[in-house]
């Protein structure tokens, strides 16, 4: 009886006239808003294009940076270089995430036995966040092979990847740590009240929430890492930027630089869109909207 009484109105409900009116008004408002958005966006875009096209040096810039034939000729060489960037990124990204998380967790430990670990983690983040990445790349790429240690790779690919992981691990560790610190202490209290250990509290309660919160800044760092794979050109690896510069040097035309930029964009933009979408879905799921 209760059940039928609760559900029957749902079946019979017809929006009232007032509600239909309101829905019409809402539709009109939405239409108005999208019209405004479209017009403003178009106006700004056209304005910017006109500004660039009407600049006094536009013809020279166009000839130097927007040559179709040079773009076509350099396309394959840059693609080959970019494949190196992609590979470095694919190897470095998971390593950075793991290293960053481990360092962040190490800094949050409380056991007295782990004091040296905490000190090491703190020292590591301070050091590698403070040193320009390009220096780390050069020092690793040239310095490590120069040591002549047996058993250590002399592959520039692995050495420079190692350097990037070191640099970005420090940034990502701080992002993770900020996320951990942002979790309200009542969450820790209620986990501990359930007699979870410190490690369990971290693993099952704090980290899942922390990671969710830091996804946007994390993406920031990962896109930045993807771009910074170009830094390895500093030790002579023939990746996309280096290939573009090489072509530019031979042919006195800067178009390949834009081609390289396009390659980087093609990876970065879908990546950020994807995370935005994942985040939105997560929020919808959690708030039951």
């Amino acid at each position: 009886m209760t059940q039928s009484e609760m559900t029957s109105p749902q079946v019979t409900w017809e929006p009232s006239e007032r509600e239909l009116e309101r829905q019409a008004v809402r539709r009109r408002l939405r239409l108005q808003q999208s019209a405004i958005a479209t017009v403003v966006t178009a106006a700004v875009a056209i304005g910017l294009v006109l500004l660039v096209l009407s600049s006094p040096g536009w013809d020279r810039v166009r000839d130097y940076f927007l040559s179709w034939s040079h773009a076509r000729d350099s396309f394959a060489a840059i693609a080959e270089g970019f494949w190196i960037n992609i590979r470095i990124f694919l190897v470095a990204e998971p390593c950075v995430l793991i290293l960053g998380a481990l360092v962040a967790i190490a800094r949050q430990t409380t056991s007295p036995w782990l004091a040296p670990l905490r000190l090491l983690a703190t020292g590591y983040t301070d050091l590698f966040r403070g040193v320009p990445s390009i220096l780390v790349v050069v020092i690793c790429g040239i310095g490590i092979p120069a040591l002549g240690l047996s058993g250590v790779t002399s592959s520039l690919f692995w050495l420079t990847t190692f350097a990037l992981v070191l640099c970005y691990g420090a940034y990502v560790a701080e992002v993770f740590r900020a996320g951990i610190l942002a979790i309200h202490p009542t969450q820790v209290a209620s986990a501990e009240a359930l007699a979870l250990t410190h490690a369990q509290t971290m693993r099952f309660v704090v980290l899942p929430q922390a990671v969710r919160r830091v996804v946007p800044p994390l993406m920031n760092d990962l896109v930045s890492l993807q771009k910074d794979t170009a830094l390895i050109s500093a030790v002579g690896v023939f990746e996309a930027l280096r290939a573009a510069q090489d072509y530019q040097g031979y042919n006195f035309n800067g178009t390949p630089l834009l081609v390289a930029a396009a390659y980087f964009l093609i990876v970065a933009v879908p990546l950020t869109r994807l995370t935005d979408w994942l985040m939105r879905r997560q929020i919808e799921k959690e708030q039951g909207r």
Partner: protein, 244 residues
Amino acid sequence: MTALLEAKALRKSYRGRVVLDDLDLTVAEHDVVCLIGASGSGKSTLLRCLNLLETIDDGVITFDGREISDPLVDPRTVRREIGMVFQAYNLFPHLSVLDNCTLAQVRVHGVPAGEAADRARQLLARFGLADKADAHPDALSGGQQQRVALVRAMCTRPRLLLLDEITAALDPELVGEVLEIVRAEAEAGTTLVLATHEMSFAREVATRVCFLDGGRVLEQGPPEQLFGHPVEERTRAFLARVRS
């Protein structure tokens, strides 16, 4: 007696689950309306609909003679005059108690900062919180936080206060103290709509009690009548359950 707030044929559903169904509610000026009912009967949802935190699916809400459920109404013009206190306090943890209480006064109502602080301190003192003005919410006990939330809502002199289970977290000895102030507020001209599980609170402070069931007001009346001689079988069953 003109109605300050009137809800007619209110309907609200979440993903096909109907929470409010053809609900009518009239609140006159100086009324203290208590909403009672089981968890999930729609008390909180109703309160959230009344100050437009939720968009209703159907029905009409009128505040002070104006239809506020009209999409052309700016919700902020409504919320300026309606205060709300939440079940979980919802204080801003990054602001001191005083800043929590002066934020809307200064930013929304344009009250000079000094005046806003004076008003806030005066109210805080009335709630026995004079010495907490500079503390941060997380440093206070639950009862203290809820009293701050009340002060925050009252600082802007709303014409209608919506209270969502405000005594649920208070120490027994503080309930009376808060009741007194809530009653004083009512006498000073503030109209109240409050959802509560505390029947003694409802009996003491209400001018009218509404029993919500299945998304409707199943029965309403003065507290003596509703608690003393409930007509509906379901009301009786609910009251028997909460009294035992």
